[in-house]
Subunit: 182 residues, 3 copies
């Protein structure tokens, strides 16, 4: 089967459940941005980092598809069984942060993003995650969104921040902080 | 001549044809995002990939400037000769996909983005392309947009997906698929 | 202290000054996008480029946090001393562009983004900067924004363009221009 179906050439597309909506519908914006985030997770994952982190990032990719399916399902119509986020998916991120924080110096200032390439990718992914969160919160204002989805994205951007710091430390790069100019 | 003209310091800018519009006008959002996409194409192009793909990506960059000029022209006022997209630009992408698909295994699941750096860049570019498509479709709702522009962007994101798979195969990386958790 | 405070789990957050706003508020979109831009600056900075450029990029990162603080302060309520942008921050970028332009060939056409990896990153950052500018201009329409913030972002995207050209030249890569197809 061809990948290009041409069914979206007129600017509309289908939610799970079949409803046709414009491609600029907030629901599409939201899961389209989760897709963008997922691509950045893939970029981080294939750099030369600890396999423990790679394993977790792969699990996060799986969860982001779960998020995508949840966001793509028409809340009014879909009778399909959609995979669900669990509370354990959120606490897993929290546990990971707690573990990494144990070895990281306490922070009282903002960190200047950077250090090396993969650390920078984490910071970019963190910001794309927050962009996805903003769109998802906006969507939740007018339409049903599983509450775990916004919580998951909120926690994930914090995880990516801590991961950036941890990788920076592992690579022995300096951590530069922001000291406001008076 | 200096690159910085300061003419946009107050937040307005000119379309082709001279009309002044706010920088957050949907038309500017649309071609600004095509510009972002074009930068990602440049990033993919300068990685170590087959020269056939590089050549095509260079042609795509040219077409995206054509798309940019088309979007930047005030439909009411511009009397300037703007370069046009042709049907052949779209069928070229389709032919490329057909060729690549011949050697790729059939797909029945989503692919976890990643594999290696350039493959990941393709996935990111694919998502930026879809973001540009969404803005262009939104613009077309209220204002004239050449229909070929939205079709081209729709086809281009599919091309970038197939290119990601093809490069992944060429580099001998594993293709991980998404199996929904129940 | 834990990085994740969970205070934003319901989709709201606090400006400097304490006012609670939705995370999709234009003010948050604006500084969230400046944060994304700052991450790209970090990515460019940690590539193998001249230390003069690295030093300037580090200063730009500092200024972007200043921009962030300025945008994050509730204009009605915040009594906090927020660090300010100075006119000199803007003229510094202009001087840098003038210096680089002296050694660069004059330009009469658009440049196809690309050349090598770091040059491509500059083009992407340039486009993210313009995205941040669009959001900031939109915000300024309904709410107070320090005028220097939009001017700074406008100048910064031009600086990133000239930097892209300069690095391209330093690395000896070809500069491809866009010749419109009739
Ligand atoms: C939501 C959605 C997305 C979302 C989110 C998915 C998520 N869960 O996070 C995002 C934005 C990521 C997405 C991206 C793409 N999608 Co999509 N997507 C859908 C949609 C609307 C629902 C899929 C879903 O999640 N279902 C819920 C899950 C739990 O149940 P499911 O339906 O059994 O899902 C399975 C799922 C898991 O087993 O994989 C499936 N699948 C079966 N055959 C194929 C073939 C292909 C090529 C793909 C990619 C998937 C696929 C199948 O959909 C369907 C259309 C529809 N209404 O069903 C299109 C659909 C599956 N997508 C399609 C395409 C082409 C793509 C993209 C290649 C587009 C692009 N150029 O970027 C990418 C591929 C991304 C990737 N990494 O593989 C096509 C596939 C056409 C084909 N040849 O079979 C469909 C059918 C839409 C269409 N054009 O008609 N998509
Ligand atoms: C639309 C547009 C864009 C769009 C889309 C372009 C496209 N076709 O896809 C995008 C968003 C990509 C863009 C980006 C930039 N642009 Co512009 N753009 C325009 C605009 C409005 C129309 C250009 C166009 O496409 N015309 C249609 C084509 C078919 O006809 P044309 O006019 O003959 O086009 C030629 C074109 C091809 O031959 O190259 C030209 N050109 C002539 N001299 C120069 C000098 C420079 C520095 C550049 C970049 C181009 C350029 C010239 O415009 C003009 C202003 C205007 N109203 O004309 C500004 C303009 C050309 N842009 C300008 C600038 C500064 C830029 C950026 C450097 C901004 C930035 N910081 O990112 C980048 C450069 C990107 C690159 N890769 O080279 C300036 C150039 C100032 C100067 N010193 O000459 C102009 C004049 C606007 C202004 N400030 O007054 N731009
Ligand atoms: C605006 C803002 C941002 C903006 C812009 C900042 C800018 N200036 O450009 C952006 C979007 C970049 C941002 C990002 C983040 N932020 Co913030 N941010 C704020 C906010 C609203 C104001 C900060 C500010 O600029 N103040 C103005 C400056 C001049 O004065 P100041 O208040 O003394 O600022 C200092 C500043 C400079 O010295 O560093 C501070 N600081 C003190 N302790 C800590 C601890 C941490 C972990 C951090 C990151 C900073 C920090 C402290 O805020 C505060 C909450 C609030 N209402 O105060 C949260 C806050 C500081 N942020 C927080 C967090 C968690 C983050 C992120 C990690 C979120 C994420 N997952 O991406 C990142 C970190 C980015 C980085 N590079 O370090 C938390 C810190 C929680 C904690 N454990 O202490 C706060 C307290 C919000 C909250 N959840 O309650 N943030
Ligand atoms: C660290 C600071 O970032 C802001 N904040 C919280 N969530 C988001 C988001 N999704 N995008 C951008 N900014 C956000 C809040 O102001 C918080 O205090
Ligand atoms: C693969 C799925 O992606 C969605 N889709 C189609 N076009 C876009 C776009 N520009 N941006 C985000 N999502 C899109 C549709 O739901 C389609 O079925
Ligand atoms: C070079 C051209 O880019 C457009 N332009 C000016 N500012 C922005 C921005 N922030 N984002 C996108 N496009 C912009 C104008 O049309 C200008 O002429
Ligand atoms: Mg948060
Ligand atoms: Mg499509
Ligand atoms: Mg400008």
């Amino acid at each position: 089967m061809k990948i290009y179906t041409k069914t979206g050439d007129k600017g509309q597309t289908s939610l799970i459940g079949g409803t046709r909506v414009a491609k600029y519908h907030l629901r599409i914006e939201a899961y389209g941005t989760v897709d963008e985030l997922n691509s950045y997770i893939g970029l981080i994952m294939c750099q030369d980092i600890d396999s423990h982190h790679q394993q977790l990032l792969k699990e996060i990719q799986d969860r982001l598809f779960t998020v995508g399916a949840s966001l793509a399902a028409d809340p009014e119509k879909s009778k399909m069984k959609i995979p669900d986020l669990h509370d354990a998916d959120i606490t897993l991120l929290e546990k990971e942060m707690d573990d990494m924080n144990e070895v990281l110096p306490a922070l009282k200032h903002f960190v200047l993003p950077g250090g090396n390439t993969v650390v920078s990718y984490c910071h970019i992914a963190r910001c794309v995650c927050r962009r996805a969160e903003r769109l998802t919160v906006a969507l939740a204002e007018n339409s049903f969104v599983d509450e775990r989805v916004t919580v998951y994205l909120n926690r994930l951007s914090d995880y990516l921040f801590v991961l950036a710091r941890k990788l920076n430390m592992d690579f022995g790069a300096e951590e530069n902080i922001w000291i406001p100019r008076i």
